[in-house]
């Protein structure tokens, strides 16, 4: 039988001897950290949740898995948004309206991916596991009809179901709150913001890893060739699960910028090998496509990601603004080439109008009356769109 990780996934590819050694040592490190967490969790019990600096530091070293369910809820401000009954009512709506064309199509898309999401994992092979996955995705589709179902979302839902096993309602709410932290048009009809983020990544590679950017040019490799899966699934189906959870700890605690840090760190850690391949006149793309799956050493990855200097939010916003213009142009050209633009082109136009008004600001500012008709905005989730922190209010002003 193939070896599995503590979460039930087959270790594939097989860890190198060095990584296997790391994984053994890592279990000890986790035990030490758990002791500290037990103390802090005891102290926090019964008090309102505050993300102190100390807690932030501890989260950066990984939340023990038994505390993830609670910590992720706290960090996502679950109790502030949770509405009893909403999940069931969304599912009822789906039952009653499944004959509507748009909803019907989205539900069929969901159905198609149920047994294609972590297919090697026992939790999703069982009818109960698939039913849970179906209900999380169905509720999200009903909640955001203009987004519907985007392939890749099933991996997010499945990851959350591993944290909230047998509790689709918790997985639904955390997925809703988690995706609200992503740029608004991430999963929209043309995945505008995924394109933008990958463009931003290319610019960051240019700034920080110039040699790799040159190699990409020489090999005619674009960011979209290897990074789409990283961003769409928040690495969920691209990396070993422990590494995924460590990244998600940071996304729920600190926001989506961490995805860029992780992507740059991953490339940086593999720079030598990429340069070496190029030296031997070998194509670099297979390496670029493999580096995530074999990233077992989550400690080194996270340390490298958080250690990147001068990684300013403002830089990301500036790059996003510039990339938005480019992506709008590119997607326009693609759309014009299409034989049947229809619905897709319509939704794209809505997106672009919003974009220009918003200048690459994060999703939270979309609520500030910048765009008149909130309901036509792709990706808007009204209950989530009030700015929550002072920093965000400033960003929106």
């Amino acid at each position: 039988m193939a070896a599995r990780d503590p979460y039930g996934f087959i270790l594939d590819p097989v860890p190198s001897p060095k990584d296997a050694e790391f994984l053994r040592a890592y279990e000890e490190i986790k035990k030490r950290r758990l002791v500290k967490w037990q103390k802090v969790m005891g102290e926090m019990k019964g008090k309102p949740f505050i993300r102190t600096n100390n807690l932030k530091k501890m989260i950066r070293k990984g939340i023990p898995h038994q505390y993830r369910p609670q910590m992720w809820k706290d960090l996502l401000q679950y109790s502030q948004y949770y509405t009893p009954g909403e999940f069931e009512s969304l599912l009822r709506h789906a039952q009653e309206h499944r004959d509507e064309p748009r909803l019907g199509q989205a539900l069929r898309d969901v159905e198609m991916d149920l047994d294609r999401t972590f297919p090697g994992h026992p939790a999703f092979a069982s009818p109960a596991g698939q039913a849970a996955l179906r209900s999380v995705l169905t509720a999200l589709v009903v909640l955001r009809p203009e987004i519907g179902y985007c392939q890749g979302m099933s991996f997010l839902a499945a990851t959350l179901l591993l944290v909230y096993p047998g509790q689709p309602e918790d997985a639904f709410w955390t997925m809703r709150l988690l995706t609200a932290r992503l740029p608004a048009q991430f999963y929209s009809a043309n995945m505008f913001d995924v394109h933008v983020e990958v463009h931003v990544l290319e610019d960051l590679i240019q700034q920080r890893l110039g040699a790799i950017r040159r190699l990409m040019r020489a090999n005619k490799v674009e960011g979209l060739h290897f990074a789409v899966q990283w961003y769409v699934c928040l690495f969920a189906n691209a990396m070993p699960m422990e590494t995924v959870f460590r990244i998600w700890d940071l996304v729920v605690s600190e926001g989506d910028k961490i995805l860029h840090r992780v992507a740059i760190a991953l490339l940086k850690l593999n720079r030598a090998e990429l340069l070496d391949r190029a030296e031997k006149k070998e194509f670099i793309l297979p390496t670029l496509l493999q580096i995530s799956a074999r990233c077992y050493n989550c400690e080194t990855l996270i340390k490298t990601a958080l250690g990147l200097l001068n990684f300013k939010r403002s830089t990301i916003y500036t790059l996003r603004a510039a990339a938005s213009e480019t992506v709008a142009r590119e997607l326009n050209t693609v759309a014009q080439r299409r034989t049947a633009p229809g619905l897709i082109a319509g939704q794209r136009r809505v997106g672009l109008r919003g974009r220009r008004a918003c200048r690459g600001q994060p999703a939270a500012c979309w609520c500030r009356g910048l765009i008149p008709e909130p309901n036509t905005r792709v990706g808007a989730d009204p209950i989530l769109s009030r700015p929550k922190s002072r920093a965000q209010r400033r960003a929106c002003a």
């Binding site: 996934f9 087959i10 594939d12 590819p13 198609m112 991916d113 047994d115 294609r116 999401t117 972590f118 297919p119 090697g120 994992h121 092979a125 985007c150 392939q151 890749g152 099933s154 991996f155 929209s188 009809a189 043309n190 995945m191 394109h195 020489a218 090999n219 005619k220 674009e222 979209l224 060739h225 290897f226 990074a227 789409v228 899966q229 769409v232 699934c233 189906n237 691209a238 990396m239 070993p240 699960m241 190029a278 006149k281 070998e282 194509f283 793309l285 297979p286 496509l289 493999q290 995530s292 799956a293 074999r294 997607l331 693609v334 759309a335 080439r337 299409r338 034989t339 049947a340 897709i344």
Partner: protein, 196 residues
């Protein structure tokens, strides 16, 4: 005798979600089949070298995501690709209509010379697209037509072989990828947590 010449080509697979694009590629490249194939996000890249009668053909295969909203990525893969396989599922009428859209788009773009239409899952019942209809369509639009089953390994190697034979063998190398890779390097973004 002189060494046989090696030609490399980019080949892209297109078609609706879940028609069996990834399964066809994995059957061809690794001779495996997963009942539950993880859905492709973005695209996967694999290579395979074929030995023909008088030359060697290296295929650099891009297996794309099928959902409509990933469509905007497709030109990046078929641009500069001299060959494409458009796949549909014979038990799903819509997937055939979608395949025709793909063929039209490829022909409009002009660059893709060899297009094959793969009528996949031919092991399954009930059939919703008559072979005669699809064959007539393929003939009219100048496509190779092949009934395939990734599951039962029917016509998979033949499909790729026919494409390899039909691709023009001329200098310079038609592939836009200038840096050659050693054959048999495992590729693909389908790494991670798979079932086989």
């Amino acid at each position: 005798m002189a060494e046989p010449k090696t030609y490399s080509y980019k080949l892209v697979l297109l078609g609706e979600s879940a028609v069996g694009k990834s399964s066809l590629v994995l059957r061809f490249v690794r001779n495996v089949f997963c009942e539950y194939q993880e859905s492709t996000i973005g695209a996967a890249y694999l290579t395979k070298t074929l030995t023909l009668k008088d030359c060697i053909v290296k295929l650099e295969i891009w297996d794309t995501a099928g959902q409509e909203r990933y469509h905007s990525l497709a030109p990046m893969y078929y641009r500069g690709a001299p060959a494409a396989i458009v796949v549909y599922d014979i038990t799903n009428r819509d997937s055939f209509e979608r395949a025709k859209d793909w063929v039209r788009e490829l022909q409009k773009s002009g660059g893709v010379g060899v297009i094959a239409l793969a009528a996949n899952k031919c092991d399954l019942e009930p059939r919703r697209v008559p072979a005669s209809e699809a064959e007539a369509y393929a003939e009219d639009s100048g496509c190779i037509y092949m009934e395939t089953s990734a599951k039962n390994n029917i016509n998979v190697a033949e499909l790729f072989q026919q494409i390899a034979i039909k691709l023009p063998k001329q200098e310079p190398e038609p592939s836009p990828v200038v840096i050659l890779e050693k054959p048999n390097v495992p590729g693909g973004s389908d790494g991670g947590k798979k079932c086989c």
